[in-house]
């Protein structure tokens, strides 16, 4: 009897702890969501009930903030980065997965290692080079540098997916007389498509949230959304209601994308060390 009651108490404590943890996790996000719908006046009070307004979402797109241009830059940069990285990564991943290459381990470790290089060391030489060839403050420049952070993830993630495709289908197609390239096109790509799409979304999120490169390599024309946040530091202090509205525009699309590929997030981030 007492054992049973003890167990019930124990599970009640567990549920309580889970709820507290969830609360702590959601509060900063919820706070931004609330503030985005508050007026300038309401935001300066700890109010939970207020008259919501959509005004902030209009203001951030007006001068002088012009968030629309940053939204455009972020979209283009992340999209093109992914569209370049994914085909290149898929080709490499297939080869790493199916063939034995000379120096394969060395290549794979190097690719893994580049992911851990601090972004700040990568950006210094690019700043000098871009200054010399006129690529500073351009979307093209930003895309090139973004490839550095996206490629290792993409290669390792897609390799993981292709590793999971059984070899027999491929062998059967080869026996039927298709060439290797045809076989990759007609058999492997359709089978790996969900994995490739997942890797693409994952890389899109990373490129979208990228901060340090954009901070150093852009200043006006190619500024992306995360850097745009700095616009809302006015002389009279932070414009919290506008910051929050911009924050929602940055994070909401990523929340949706992240939920789509939720199952693969861990695998992607750990490069397959944990599945």
């Amino acid at each position: 009897m007492t054992g049973n009651r003890l167990r019930r108490l124990f599970s009640a404590i567990q549920v309580a702890l889970i709820l507290v943890a969830t609360f702590v996790m959601l509060v900063p996000i919820a706070w931004i969501f609330l503030a985005a719908f508050k007026t300038h006046v309401d935001v300066y009070q700890l109010k939970l009930f207020f008259r919501p307004t959509l005004e902030n979402f209009g203001t951030v797109f007006d001068a002088p903030f012009l968030l629309g241009a940053k939204l455009f830059n972020s979209t283009i940069v992340a999209l093109v980065t992914v569209m370049l990285a994914i085909p290149i990564a898929t080709m490499a991943a297939y080869s790493f997965s199916r063939f034995h290459l000379r120096g394969e381990t060395a290549m794979l470790v190097t690719i893994l290692a580049t992911q851990f290089v601090p972004a700040v060391i990568i950006v210094l030489p690019f700043f000098v080079m871009f200054r010399d060839i006129g690529l500073l403050d351009t979307r093209v420049g930003l895309i090139v540098v973004n490839l550095a952070i996206v490629m290792p993830f993409a290669i390792w993630m897609i390799k993981g997916f292709i590793d999971g495709i059984p070899l027999d289908t491929e062998e059967a197609a080869m026996v039927d007389g298709s060439s290797r390239v045809q076989m990759i096109r007609n058999i492997v790509l359709p089978m790996a498509a969900p994995g490739i799409l997942t890797a693409g979304i994952f890389c899109f999120i990373i490129a979208w949230n990228e901060f340090l490169f954009a901070l150093i390599l852009t200043n006006k024309n190619a500024v992306t959304l995360p850097i745009g946040l700095a616009l809302f530091k006015a002389e009279e202090g932070d414009l919290w209601n506008l910051l929050s509205a911009a924050g929602i525009i940055i994070m909401l699309p990523m929340f949706i994308l992240a939920l789509l590929i939720r199952k693969y997030f861990v695998q992607g981030m750990t490069m397959g060390a944990v599945r």
Binding site: L26, W31, F116, M251
Partner: protein, 303 residues
């Protein structure tokens, strides 16, 4: 699609396999390897952004010597980074492990919370910095109000104006942002602990703590190793949140190495000096990456 496409020439596999990796190797070489080498070169030059020619003016190891011997600010950022890394790794790992143990059994509530865990992780670190500055605003910050009610001396203090409190806020923001991801990783590890082993231990009469210590924890060790190494690497590199939250301040109380390098390279234009500090920072990374690569490849071979 389909029939219309021209049959490509048959390329022999042992050539094709290198053709397939070639573009990726080129991209990685240009975007990651070249900058490392070029940064190493720059680290041996005078390297002033506003002085043409100084990027080719070599002065040997002087930048390194200067950083290590003459720059208290460098050592300050080393200690800030070390403390920051140690605290965030320890706190995130312990709390994430606790949360993973709570959530691993599954069920509607627990799976629902697991789904929500993805949200903070999809948030841009810069935005996490912003949101914590918001939460700790002395006038209308929610966390400020909460801590003020809990610990009266903390009511209405300027968190980000006090060196120690600002550092604490940075730690909290980091831990908040990383717990969800590490929890998901650890749940993955916990699920793969075989049920039979756990049940056998329970039948043997071991209590919950004993089962955890003698069965779960050893089984979880490889995943814990992944978590600790990965988190250490990301902690060492921390920049985005710090930039948005405190910008290294007050003074240099929260100036991490990445921030110190950014400041010297970009604000003061001393790109040669910044590159030398950046290379000093790569050293611990090499050890961590080596350890991590070993873990990944052991896993690869086991399959």
């Amino acid at each position: 699609m389909g029939r219309a496409w021209v049959r490509p020439p048959r390329v022999r596999d042992n050539i094709l396999k290198y053709l397939l990796v070639a573009p990726a190797v080129v991209v990685v070489a240009v975007t990651a390897i070249w900058p490392l080498i070029e940064a190493a070169r720059l680290s041996f030059t005078v390297g002033r952004l506003n002085r043409p020619g100084s990027l080719e003016q070599y002065l040997g190891w002087e930048n390194y010597v200067w950083a290590v011997m003459e720059e208290p600010a460098f050592w300050n950022s080393v200690w800030v980074t070390a403390a920051y890394t140690f605290l965030t790794v320890a706190l995130t790992t312990i709390l994430a492990l606790a949360l993973a143990l709570l959530l691993a059994p599954g069920g509607r509530l627990r799976s629902g919370v697991q789904t929500l865990l993805i949200l903070p992780f999809a948030m841009s670190p810069a935005l996490i910095g912003v949101s914590f500055r918001f939460m700790f605003n002395p006038e209308f910050g929610l966390f400020d109000a909460f801590f003020g009610a809990l610990i009266p001396p903390l009511a209405n203090v300027s968190w980000l104006a006090d060196p120690i409190l600002a550092f604490a806020v940075c730690i909290m923001a980091d831990v908040w942002g990383w717990i969800p991801f590490l929890t998901l990783v650890l749940i993955g590890g916990l699920i793969s602990v075989p049920r039979e082993t756990l049940e056998a231990a329970q039948i043997d009469g071991a209590n919950g703590w004993r089962v955890f210590r003698d069965v779960t924890l050893p089984q979880l060790a490889p995943v814990l190793a992944v978590v600790v190494i990965l988190k250490s690497i990301f902690s060492l590199k921390t920049f985005d949140q710090i930039f948005m939250l405190t910008n290294g301040g007050p003074g240099t109380a929260t100036q991490t190495l990445s921030h110190y390098i950014y400041f010297n390279g970009m604000k003061y234009g001393q790109i040669g000096f910044a590159a030398s500090v950046a290379w000093l920072m790569v050293i611990p990374m090499i050890f961590l990456t080596y350890a991590y690569a070993k873990l990944v490849f052991r896993k690869d071979q086991a399959q």
